[in-house]
Symmetry: D2
Subunit: 309 residues, 4 copies
């Protein structure tokens, strides 16, 4: 059942960047995210313009690129308490992060998934409303958006081991559903796309021997035309491109991949299938993995297998 | 909370048409719905190609046009039982419709809302899978779609009295959220758009003195280009148009309205805002109703107020 | 034959506006034309970003709105000389406008067509190149465009008498072709769309008893999505809309009509058929005029018949 | 000047295919060209649905793939006579092909360009009108189109030596203009894009040591969304893809490249810049060739250099 455990959506991702000013030119000026705050540690907070909460992306300057953690927003603090208990029972390492460790965000319950990634649950974050349009007679969009006009932080794709156990955790404890999967002939699930709402994926995992690897953070665009213009902007700004514009087989979304100046991979995409909890998972055969990932080329480019620590 | 009561989505609508063959030319050949079955009463069953269940539209030949009922699919028969009790307690008139009254559909619990419309809850319907693509290495879309290529039955807009009480019913008993509303200066809600998932609306009501009025049944398209082509097809087939292509202020979806040969209004649209349960309702002032409904023209066309019994 | 007489394209239009500052908010900030200069008389010069010449729109503050004249660029001064002679021979009143009457524009030969409109021929205008991209390794588009991002001045639609004689003038003297026409059952041409290149129309006339009437000046957009966003911007800026987004039957372009603050009608559109000189004219029956003009609604809105002196 | 010598447009291309039935599945069912006739030699004639003439593509079964010739339509037989003389004077080898060698096509003057490619001039071909819509109250498009719905044969890209001399031929004798070029630092033109109308290119050449090489034949689509669907169809039909969807730097059109079953490369594309004869050529530096050809990737894929004999 959708949201059967009270987890609502991907709420934020904290990304490490090598140079915060260069990163802002990328995430704010090129991708069009809205800068909403900075904190005493020098972290910068951003959001897509359609997002109601104050931020969904946190950039932290560090010596290595990669993802620190991804957070899911829950409907209530009671849900966070409840799930904290279930996570511990499941055997996850848990860290309690106090309120205001992220500015204007309540306490978070951080845990490590079997794939080696850090996730968080939280229920409280300041709501500043949709950027530029608000809730009262809202116009269709704000006139002062820039660059790719990214609408919202959408999902992450992560690489790591223990996909079965991780699926069990996300399904049983957190109430996610398995929307789509890639299976080998001998029944091993090598990729799994999980949703906690109606989107084709809120979090996705690909099987990988090393734990905690970061493939990409993804942002939603309005249209296929915006994907084209994203590609144009990537070229105009001499930004490193990975692949696209193209379509995914899995989710059928239309997409382009590229890299921030620190080497973190980003996706902007549009469209994609919808999900309801009575939908059977969609299954791709592992020998169709190329088509499943990049529907037009039907082969993986070499870089697809490159991930960050 | 999304789906807090176990109602998943709009599952079907039964529409009365004056001539079943003419209606099929409209719903199947023009709108591109897939005909999936007929029954002994002569009713015809159709679905959008992305829908997993066997049907979402039932056409019934009758002497007057209009909507017989709209049904919501629930996650389980237990939920249907539970909600049946709560509906009765709320004071709704309830009718138990036996399994197979609609072919390949389980028992339904029919109730009348304060607005005078008939709704149903059910949990069981034969799943035939996405038309032409299925669940195994699915292609992006089937090659043999026709006309407008409507993807799914999306929602209905209904006119009637007692909006407050109806909102209470849908919120309290059925677990819907109020996504968007139109308010008069003295605080009367004259339009309400409700969702039970992430869509901007699954059912909408406009205040009207007469109960049980039908404004339109709406179907989802992939893109604004498909809305243009829908308009083209409307013209090519001498179909009666209402308004569009245009955008709605409410939901911000892009749309076209037209009539079936019996006078039932249809909408096809794309895009639209998304909803999460921590979103405050969006409010439009009643003196902005024109802009709220038709964002570009900013006035209601006269026909907008025309509804069927 | 295309350009058989050396006339290349619509090169400029001079429009009268009641308030030049309000007009600039409209043509520059809303429509996205680039302001390129002003002159001692207070006229403002603008262009679409893809246009190579310095300007294509001249706004002149005056007590009444309307079009002063429309100019066509020729391939050489010799062509202008040659056509000046042929225009005189045809019987047109001719006025020689000296170089620099429009800043950075060479001498112009002004003449009055049988419909009562003032047109000009010229061959020399300063070329400032495509705005923001130029001719050397040009990017796909400039990043600092605003509003509707109008790409170029495209054509005008004018109302007046004597369509046959005007067609004869444009065909015989100026080398235009008749691309599309609307004919009454008794063989009267009530609308004619003329081209001097491959576009579906460079100038169009509709039969009207009063001479010299101005219907609209039209500007080209890149896509149907840009037409939607034009409609959005019209609403956001409380600009008076006429009709659209919709498609024309004639030319099949996709379009929206609206008014500048002085009451001049503008069009922005995309797409449209192409023309070669061996194409037979396309003919619409006058009883299909509604569909010919507004393909989806298939009726003329009342405002369509409103024109300026 | 546009069409200063009376050449109108690319009129046809004859392509060699290894198996005519497989080729038809590709060009007719996948690309959506309309089959209009076959001849006694077994050649099959096709056209894009917007084209007025009877055919623009001729498929000939042969032992090797490649292009036999490309033909340009002229405005009159007198023009063909005149240009035949000028071609001979220029030093081209000329072959007179009698009327009806291609069914329903008049006599053709065939000549070999310095690059080693065979071209033809002709003025007479049966006109069957736009497929499915015609010239009288034409609908926006025919409802029975299939596959990619290719609108027209647009241009070819050819590889060979002697670009300067070929440019001289096309400019001086045939009245083409140089729209866009790629130049080495020492002033050698390594790519040239020529137009005889308002399109960004009607024929293009890339410098190559071997004469007479065929890179691709290109067809026009309506929109970027149609380019996406072309990519989808390529995948659905297991057609060999080359690259795309992407944008070109040169012409700025949006494109996808793929191969017919015989190995001939096809392009379908939309958009692209427009040209007038007073436009200076656009110049790309040779060290920007990757970006000039594939604007997003900014590198040539290896296959780009693969051409057919």
């Amino acid at each position: 059942m959708t949201m059967k455990k009270g987890v609502m959506r991907p709420g934020h991702v904290q990304i490490r960047v090598l140079d915060i000013d260069e990163a802002l030119v990328h995430y704010r000026d090129l991708m069009g995210l809205i800068e909403t705050d900075r904190d005493a540690e020098g972290r910068v907070y951003l959001k897509g313009w359609t997002e109601v909460d104050k931020f969904s992306v946190v950039l932290r300057e560090a010596d290595t690129a990669g993802m620190d953690f991804m957070g899911f927003k829950c409907v209530s603090e009671a849900v966070v308490d409840q799930l904290r208990g279930e996570l511990a029972e499941f055997g996850c390492a848990i860290e309690d992060v106090p309120a205001e460790e992220l500015k204007d965000c309540g306490r978070r319950v951080r845990f490590t998934a079997p794939t080696g990634h850090n996730f968080e649950l939280y229920a409280t974050k300041k709501q500043t409303g949709r950027y530029g349009v608000g809730n009262h007679n809202p116009e269709a969009w704000p006139r002062d958006l820039t660059g790719m006009k990214a609408q919202r932080f959408d999902h992450c794709l992560l690489y790591g081991p223990e996909l079965d156990k991780t699926l069990d955790l996300f399904r049983t404890v957190l109430g996610f559903d398995l929307c789509e999967q890639v299976m080998t002939p001998d029944g091993k699930r090598v990729a799994q796309f999980l949703t906690v709402g109606m989107k084709a994926h809120d979090i996705a995992f690909i099987d990988h021997p090393e734990p905690g690897k970061f493939h990409h953070a993804s942002f939603f665009l309005e249209s296929w035309e915006d994907v084209l213009k994203a590609g144009d902007l990537i070229s105009m700004t001499d930004t490193s491109i990975d692949i696209g514009p193209t379509r995914h087989g899995i989710t059928h979304g239309s997409t382009i991949y590229f890299f921030d100046p620190s080497g973190n991979r980003n996706e902007v995409f549009c469209g994609g299938d919808y999900f309801y909890p009575d939908h059977e998972p969609i299954t791709w055969d592992a020998d169709k993995l190329g088509k499943a990932i990049f529907y037009h080329d039907r082969v993986l480019n070499e870089r697809f297998l490159t991930v960050l620590t």
